[in-house]
Amino acid sequence: MIDADGLMLERAGRRLIDDVSLHLEPGTLTAVIGPNGAGKSTLLRLLTGETRPDGGTVRYGGQPIGAWTPRALARRRAVLPQASALAFAFTVHEIVRMGAVASGTREPDRIAERALGQVGLGGFGGRLYQHLSGGEQQRVQFARALAQVPEPVDGDTPRFLFLDEPTSSLDLRHQIAVLDVAQRFARAGGGVVAVLHDLNLVAEFADTVLVLHGGRVVADGTPADALADRVIGSVYGVHGTVCRVPQAGTPFVLPQSRLAAPPA
């Protein structure tokens, strides 16, 4: 269970995060959406303890995040960052194993291999990370994060996965596959927070959606509630893009449909 209360972060006189409070439930996949510069990655950095807020608190299981040692925190949550280049030639296995070791497991090799299998990279262990494509690198990093929280629930403590744009370099099939793994992690009792840009994927996989704009939460709820045309229109400045498939009631976003919509 992660609680944030009144988070505020200021840089160069600008409020990047402005009075954000939220409650992350285990068993749910929370999507964080919003336009570029809305503060999505910044919020993630505050929630994972990477950045200290200028105001407000983040609590893991009721304890302020500052009271956790880095090592203990690493066993409660894993983070998939946006793409990063490596200066040294680690193999895929070595990278994923680092995550497994951070989880505190006694079988880092087995955990690492399983995580690689989960992201569809079984057999890639011997390859050099630098020689992989951007999409493959992103999946390796995802596997590393998975290996760090190998079981969604540790005893009776849920673990959390923070994913910063996990699908940005992936093709359609792997976008779905990665979110599928994340969703299963949540179904099994873990918590997932993902920054996403593809609103269709949000609509399909998220349990709750957090819409961020100018550092503030402007909408919060189920995809059906949060992905309203009113919200999307005001946040992204593009109106009439949200449509609904009548039978299931699932919204979907079709950029082209804006051409048919009446001017806002």
Binding site: S84, A87, F88, A89, E94, M98, Q148
Partner: protein, 360 residues
Amino acid sequence: MTEVAALRRLRPSGDRTGRALAVTAGTLLLALAAGVLSVSSGPTGVGLGDLLTYLTEGAAAVGDRERLVLEAIRLPRAMLGALVGAALAVSGAMMQGLFRNPLADPGLVGVSSGAATAAVVVIVLGAGVLGPLAALLGVHLLPIAAFLGALVNTLVLYRLATAKGRTSTATLVLAGIAVGALSGAVTGLMVFGASDAQLRDFTFWSLGSLGGATPARILAILPFIAVVFLAIPFVARGLDALVLGEAEAHHMGVPVQTLKRVVIVCVAAASGATVAVTGTIGFVGIVVPHLIRLAIGPGHRFLLPASAFAGAALLLLADTAARLVVAPAELPIGIVTALFGAPVFLAILINHRNGPLSGE
């Protein structure tokens, strides 16, 4: 080797532990062999036979001259060479891990020049302003001062070259030049103001080779180098994670700030201790870790000890060559390591020209 092969079969693909173990053991053997070679060769012609007699039948079994050469000249020298070579290679590997950059080397980016400047300050001011300190610390003053000089330059360099947890090679190199130039200026100032006697001391120091090996000096730098070696198991995993990025290391439970402080102190300690005794010896810190990484990958758990052994071996071999090539005179060892190291350094540059360098 069959055990290694069996180990490899049991381990998942991409795991290089087996090879790393074998290579580390190999570098250890190489260092031991280089040590024997170093102790059993030299211009006096006291050789392996004398060494074996000395070891098996005791010191009394060899002549006084042989005993003098083995005990008073070659053994301290080999010990100092092994320590210095290992310290240079390990501090190079640590610094490269800290900066996430294979080209970061204490000798190249101004850390050693900070140590050198401090050493010169001690040599020149040792009589005056620093007199009481010199009286108090004696033989330990020079290594301590060199350590502090190296520490200051490492900190300044880190502040200058690292922004948001990333180090750009260009900034690193430029900051290194600036820091080195500033240190050089202070050194120049000191030399300018020095008396002839101080200049002579300075010359002795700056021409420094492993020839200055005495038990006292080895003991004076041993604590600094021991700290670095003892730190290896504690920093290895953190440095691995740091390769992925500072934030990533933090996410994986590494206390990043503490790690960085420990590594900076280690780099400064190793650079300071070696510079204080042997002057600046280049390229060992960059070439050895690079070659080891080629063999076993960048994992610091084995990279650091294997670099230590290989660094010791390299310096012992270089010193043996330095003593034999122009005997009865000897070449400055820095020349030998540069002759070997500069081409390898160029090869690294060319290799990386097309590939990504960290932080760019």
